[in-house]
Symmetry: C2
Subunit: 508 residues, 2 copies
Amino acid sequence: MTEDSAYQTLEHRFKKLAVLGGVHRMLHWDSQTMMPVGGAGDRAEQTAAIALVRHELLTDPSLDELLCRAEAVDMATLNPWKAANLVEMRRLWVHANAVDGRLVEALAKAVSASESCWREARPENDFAGFAPRMGEVLALVRETAMAKAEALDCTPYDALLDSYEPHGRGARIDALFDRLAGFLPGFLARVIEDQAAAPAPLALEGPFPIDAQRALGRRLMEAVGFDFDHGRLDESGHPFSSGTPGDTRITTRYDEADFTMSLMAVLHETGHAMYERGLPAAWRYQPVGEAAGMSVHESQSLLLEMQACRSRAFAEFAAPLMREAFGGDGPAWEAENIYRLNIRVAPGLIRVYADEVTYPAHIMLRYGLEKSLISGDLVIADLPGAWADGMNDLLGITPHNDRDGCMQDIHWAAGAYGYFPTYTLGALNAAQLYDTARSADTDIEAGLARGDFKPLLAWLRRHVHAQGASLGPAGLIEQATGRPLDVGVFERHLAARYLPSSSAAGDY
Amino acid sequence: MTEDSAYQTLEHRFKKLAVLGGVHRMLHWDSQTMMPVGGAGDRAEQTAAIALVRHELLTDPSLDELLCRAEAVDMATLNPWKAANLVEMRRLWVHANAVDGRLVEALAKAVSASESCWREARPENDFAGFAPRMGEVLALVRETAMAKAEALDCTPYDALLDSYEPHGRGARIDALFDRLAGFLPGFLARVIEDQAAAPAPLALEGPFPIDAQRALGRRLMEAVGFDFDHGRLDESGHPFSSGTPGDTRITTRYDEADFTMSLMAVLHETGHAMYERGLPAAWRYQPVGEAAGMSVHESQSLLLEMQACRSRAFAEFAAPLMREAFGGDGPAWEAENIYRLNIRVAPGLIRVYADEVTYPAHIMLRYGLEKSLISGDLVIADLPGAWADGMNDLLGITPHNDRDGCMQDIHWAAGAYGYFPTYTLGALNAAQLYDTARSADTDIEAGLARGDFKPLLAWLRRHVHAQGASLGPAGLIEQATGRPLDVGVFERHLAARYLPSSSAAGDY
């Protein structure tokens, strides 16, 4: 078998893997949107069967040999996309083969029990009841991390991170987060002071009928460029984005008393969907044709939601549509008031409700704690106390209970250690990408004010979406923006939006 | 490896096959109800990948050896369900292994092209455009039939039939259909004469809002016993039933001008769903735990729709609910009038709109033609003419075009030769089962008049649903009704319903 035929065989196998990954996501989407409660048993069997087939594909003994043969070619002579595809194939292979089947199965079972336990224990604020299940998952995740660390030649935490942020390493995140930690507390204090000094924005009075919310959401999705021939908007308990590039499915949840939360979730998930839809068609179903990890994925949702759609320009476009949708009238419905509502800052206990300024604190807290849990420096019994201390240090507030403290997220119950930092990496990526885009095309921000997202989308399609995973997350940002990721643009963005007078004075 | 451990391994493998079959059905359900048009490309890849994994499971070289070892045990000493499970496993193995991968793939591709062509050619009435694609499929189906005939030791047509009616053979169908053919034409003429002699039932005046139709459909599904914790009702181009026993999903289509068509489709598909839901939980995911083929499946939909819900008793229960749902008033909305509307007979060109009396003619026509197409006695170029002649012979009407003639169904385009007879076998099964059930429990029919389906369901659960595939279709009917399937009960049912005075006179 030649290198080339080995490579062709690999493409064939990884296509099957990717297609079955799409099946898995459709089943997940269905279970969150359509499935009746009693379908959970059959669905668990279905997702387990698909996961097993995918695991078998990646652990087939012949795969290593195929990879070795394909890798034997001089990489410098190879089409760079093929070379990058091989690198991603090998990364997926290492993740799947570093751990034996027994551990994979044990972790899957522990996660299943732990998620169920979390769903019951969280509303009851029963950390003591949840801790043993969380401990079982953590022990197996640590075992996984150590096995992968050896295979990937990195720290155990980095081995977990690598699943969500390919080739990402904690040392780089530490440097970025340290810089943020030095900036944010003082900045937050000034923003709160500044906002308190001005009259509060006027509240929008509901109720806001759900049909009208849905229609407005679809109207704005269309403005962004979402193609309903290739996607859907539905409802679920928590907003999410799923599906495949040809069939992107996003969800939101509705609250008759407040439409902005739901609408911003729609725009956020639309950002994810536009990324999937824009991935390179020529590399569809190949590892290199997929998204460049979660921090770039999150950059696309946050760029749309936070950078573009919480801007003053977008409020000018959206305010008349909101008035029309809900029969709104008066000063509360003016664009400037809606803009001010959209950028309101207030420390809070819950990550998913956090504003752009306080969100990184939620992430830095979790990042530090999960690193300590993986290293063994922190034991689960001490987690609630460490959480409370951390919240107090970072945001000056303390949770009254574990439900709104260390039990609020499903991630650790689900074994998803290493995921949290990608949210804030995503925010930094988004700021740096949007800054570059606006400099490259001045019509991007002007377009938002008239609801024209084409200039923005054209830039993102070319510099982000069409790159797939060919450059890796760090390489993508560096190529798209001309320099490695840093914190400066994010800081300047926050300053310009939240302390406009200081910013104008060059304070930041 | 002992016989017992071989059997255990087989159960494990066939469970995976069944679970992945459930995945396939969920993807199909989604593509007909939820999927945006642009998702078709990704979906085709997904269903092909699942089909391939399932085919690989069945053609794994070790499977024959496992089956031989498990079959080596004295079957008489084996638990009868295990023995029946082995028989079904072997049947599935024979079907999958009789044809080589090249033929399976060629047929799948030809079917895909032919279905697409049919969707375009049928509205255009373009038989000449469709014929070449139909011919490609037919040639590959004949090749498949001949290969399977050798493996199953039966005729090529029977080898196709066996996929839908396990262990079914054409000779038995010929005997049943010959008897029907001798009875139906004269009977139909008398029914039409009889109905023409009486004043026509009064039409129900719409429009009937779709929300009200949906609510009424759900109300009646609940009365039947459909559990919405384990199923859904949705909309699709053609009504169908899919999903898994834990998550049964049915669909209908709505027409604001006529609610009865949609409602009867709901009840028909509910019959299918109740069967799936009632399959033996102890044998879930095993071949013997599945439905006993399509003629028994269709018996459950037709028993509910035709036998139970077009009865006078059901009209008494449903008429007030219909009045309430649509604000109906006056003599047209009386139970007796609704009953008479539900049993109106009229020869027509389209199978899916046919009434209970003329439906078998549609099936006998297709059955005869497809047997000739498979044997080679009929070539595709002669199909339109043969169809027109057959329609004229059987129902005294002639299609004006091929769209409403030989191109009206997707079955042949999809390569589903051997499927059609199961519709009429289902009608015969339904009549014989319902007759036995009513004799066994006189509260079954009385229950319908008050919307109480529990007595009927209890009988079906025990004698049909809980049997799974353990007895095979013919064995199931024989055990449930005490005798082999014959045409007599169906004839008496038609006579009692459509010629009540003659029936009372013992004419039938």
